[in-house]
Amino acid sequence: MMASKNIVCPVCGASCDDIQVELSGDKINVKNACKMGNAKFQEIVSSHRISQPLLREKGIVRPCPWEEAIERTAEILADASRPLIFMGSETSCEAMEVGLHLAEFLGAAVDSNSTVCHGPTAMGIQEAGRVGATAGQSKSRGDLAVYWGSNPLESMPRHMSRYAVYPRGYWTQRGRFDRTIITVDPRKSITAENSDLHIQLRPNTDYELLSALLVLLHGKRPHPSVEKVTGVSISQMEEMLELMKSCNFGSIYVGLGIASSYGKHRNAEAAFNLVKELNARTKFVIGALRGHCNVAGFNQIASYLYGFPFGLDFSRGYPRYNPGEYTAVDLLRERDVDCALIVSADLVSHFPAACAEYLAEIPVACIDIAPCPTTMISDVVLPGVIDAMECDGTFYRLDDVPIYFQPFTKSPFSNTKSNADTMKQIFEKVKALKR
């Protein structure tokens, strides 16, 4: 039996770094992880783990040697006129870096989960700028938390207990009793039920609500139609704004309620503007609840390597960025790529049907750990190595803090140490084919 402490969880953006595991033979015992985290740690010993490369030829799937799978993947990329490389979020920055360089080499488009997650939030930051803080800051100082379009009790279960609501911070010694919680959600979510104030707005009216709060902050009364549009009374908006103005340190945690609904980056932009202006009254910060493990990592790596946070196009040899044009959903819906390499992401499940249909028509290679709809339609499936369990590397936490992680066991495959390693092997083979 082998016991390890301070393991980083590779599931959601919280990057919890206090996981304890005991691995013995075909059993793993996990402490401190949430339900989702525990489920992923069980993958180490699961029976459905993808244990060997698979190749599809004329509709028949067969196991194949490692080298053949790498070769075939490289051929798919090298033969295409416009590949899409999709770096999912449940893998390291080191793997993402290889994917970005590979895209540059091929003149391909490269995107990540961010594009269907907080991509619009990143666009909002570009429009408005962002006042942010580390999770530790909010824990030590925060006496008001606003969950706007987010439901952490279901999507990031330990966010409230580790960072935002329950922990006792230096200036918040009484934990939950020192904090006020507001939730903005069209649904009476479990998070909303556990809040002091639930603003139950109508779907697709976040922009109007944010805009009305800014108007109130500027001393004007919002146009009366806003009550009917948002389903929220102006007096309730005033109550909310009063709570926000009178706190010592407020944090807004935006979720996909803002990024995925009608309005998208404009919602995010308005939220960032509201927070900027609240800083004239008190200390206020804002950040996104990043649902996936290292989804923040791609934004960071792509930004510092190539200047843009997601949806990059290298067809002209230099990076270009234009969401709606070079982003994965749009490229697939418009049938503007002709092959895909998908790393640690299940696009067939999580993209709209028009995109999944097209993915099923073009050559696809993927790297994954378990069978899923994307592995079902892929021509090549390469077994994935589980980051933070089987190899070391770097994740960025939801607050853009890099977390170096070390494994408690090693890759079960003799041909690869990590997904970064697999990506490098593919890159080498692509270079050889293109030479």
């Binding site: 003149g107 109007e208 805009s211």
Partner: protein, 270 residues
């Protein structure tokens, strides 16, 4: 005078970027030279002749002598997968008998473009002058600023006979955009000058974060922007050279942007 006729050879797979299709670049070139101009398809550059049959006609004199303002380009067929046509053009005429792809006439400074069908997103982005006439409907960001900029179109006219989607005239500084049909979201966002006239209706975000210039909407606005305050009513208002008919409520905003915004929004009554 030179007239260049382009006919797509077949359906186009991966989209093509063809900013070379512009009177400024075609002017003074013969058929072979035009066919040899390079366009992008994915990471590869290919001659224009791969995708189009090119025919050069001359009305008077040698086509090779024609200047840009004497050059017209006629495109017969669907080119909705060809982007950046007429990008940055300064003079001359482009007429498209079909639908056009993204970035049509982006940053154009002069001359005219007429599309008989629909135009993709970003048409007329950052336009400086000239006329862009879309007889069908248009996508997002028509006549808007490029991504990351708050200053969009500064001059010229965009006329859309059908509908436009979202972010029309974003960051508009000058010039005029007239939409005969409806618009969707955030029409005139961050507008600081110029005029947008929507003869149909709008969904939401009309004039959001606006600080100057004028928007008029003749139909209904589904989700009115909260930061606009009514300042009066006007009968038959005249906005620049556009004469409107009927009674309009006049609003100032967007007070979500600051305490003293100077944007004007006219909404037709009844």
């Amino acid at each position: 005078m030179a007239e260049i006729l382009l006919r797509p050879k077949g359906s186009i797979g991966i989209m093509v970027e063809a900013e070379v299709i512009s009177p400024n670049i075609f002017a003074g070139k013969n058929k072979a030279e035009i066919e040899g101009l390079l366009v992008w398809q994915g990471p590869v550059q290919l001659p224009l002749g791969e995708f189009f049959d090119v025919d050069v006609r001359s009305a008077a004199g040698l086509p090779e002598r024609a200047r840009p303002e004497e050059t017209s380009i006629l495109i017969e067929g669907d080119i909705s997968r060809v982007k950046r046509i007429g990008q940055g053009m300064k003079a001359g005429w482009i007429e498209i008998h079909g639908c056009a792809g993204m970035h049509l006439g982006a940053e154009m400074a002069g001359g005219s473009i007429l599309v008989q069908g629909n135009a993709g997103s970003w048409a007329g982005m950052g336009m400086l002058g000239g006329l862009l006439h879309i007889a069908g409907s248009a996508g997002d960001h028509i006549g808007s600023a490029y991504r990351g900029s708050w200053r969009g179109m500064t001059g010229g006219t965009i006329q859309i006979d059908g509908n436009a989607r979202s972010q029309l005239g974003g960051g508009l500084v000058g010039g005029k955009i007239v939409v005969a049909g409806n618009v969707e979201n955030f029409c005139g966002i961050r507008q600081s000058g110029g005029l947008i006239l929507v003869k149909g209706s709008a969904v939401r975000g009309t004039g959001a974060e606006m600080n100057g210039g004028t928007i008029a909407v003749c139909g209904a606005i589904k989700q009115f922007t909260p930061g606009f305050v009514e300042t009066g009513r006007e009968e038959n208002p005249k906005l620049g050279d556009v004469q409107l008919e009927g009674w309009y409520a006049k609003f100032t905003g967007d007070y979500a942007l600051g305490k003293n915004p100077k944007g004007s929004l006219y909404c037709r009554e009844g």
